[in-house]
Subunit: 138 residues, 2 copies
DNA sequence: AGCAGATACTTGATTGTGCAACAGTTGACT
DNA sequence: AGTCAACTGTTGCACAATCAAGTATCTGCT
């Protein structure tokens, strides 16, 4: 808990102050950028970023208002709306990504060796569950 | 981030549903219970639980409303108000503590060996800026 | 003594999030 | 065809947490 608080506080203040992005918003932009078509279903975004569907709806509203993402309908399924990374969104991500990654590097590298980071990552990975039987909640 | 989300979601839903406590509220009760006089300054509580001073004020208001903690003035310094664990608060803590600790034990023990937990704890400790001795004695 | 700055705490406004409830869509099974 | 459960997404309400600003008190310095 302490480590999480320390790291997220540092990282989110950097993103917030320098680029006006919350960390979860950065995460969304990042996830979208990794898709071939730069698009994802809102529900999948919600699960990956670990916030509720309503949370995603509202975050995407904000990101649309600032022009970083857009909407796209799904031809196969009228229920789903894709979130799409716009050019402005891609630009924004490229803008803040270096500073963010450098900060991660600094926070970790200052205190842990390469192997330690490796083993920490492995251990934490085994504690993380993305596919959870008990509902993510809403 | 994933590990944190998984663990806190599990633990906080258990505490919330079974005992009507948020995890940070549990933390406060726990910290108070470890003091000899069952009392702490609000500011110290705030730092240890890692929420803002105003957050602590409001949380303690809630906990007072349900009778789990009380106030006590400080003789030496008129600025500070101690938060004191009441008997009801102590009872509540004893009530939910076993289930909470068992859940921690289950979540960790199911996936990590004794030594792995040990080294994870050491690594995370070095990433945390706060020197909180989280010795879950007993 | 008196002032300046730090410290402890509270309050008002704002924000992000979750839950419950809802509408629309899909797919499966009669 | 018709029905029903499951799924995607949105909205109203509630709530906890934050920041900024304010009050009160303490401490150190001249």
């Amino acid at each position: 808990m302490g480590a999480h608080a320390t790291l997220t506080r540092q990282l989110s203040t950097l993103l917030e102050e320098q680029y006006g992005l919350a960390m979860s918003e950065y995460e969304v932009l990042f996830l979208l950028s990794r898709q071939d078509d730069h698009a994802m279903r809102r529900i999948d975004l919600s699960r990956e970023v670990r916030i509720s569907p309503s949370g995603i709806t509202r975050m995407l509203d904000r990101l649309e208002a600032t022009g970083l993402v857009g909407k796209k309908a799904c031809a196969k399924d009228a229920r789903v709306t894709y979130a799409v990374l716009t050019d402005a969104g891609m630009k924004k991500l490229r803008e803040c990504s270096p500073a963010h990654l450098a900060e991660v590097e600094r926070l970790m590298g200052e205190r842990l060796s390469e192997e330690e980071i490796e083993s920490l990552s492995a251990l934490l990975g085994r504690l993380s569950d993305l596919d959870d039987d008990c509902s993510i909640g809403d």
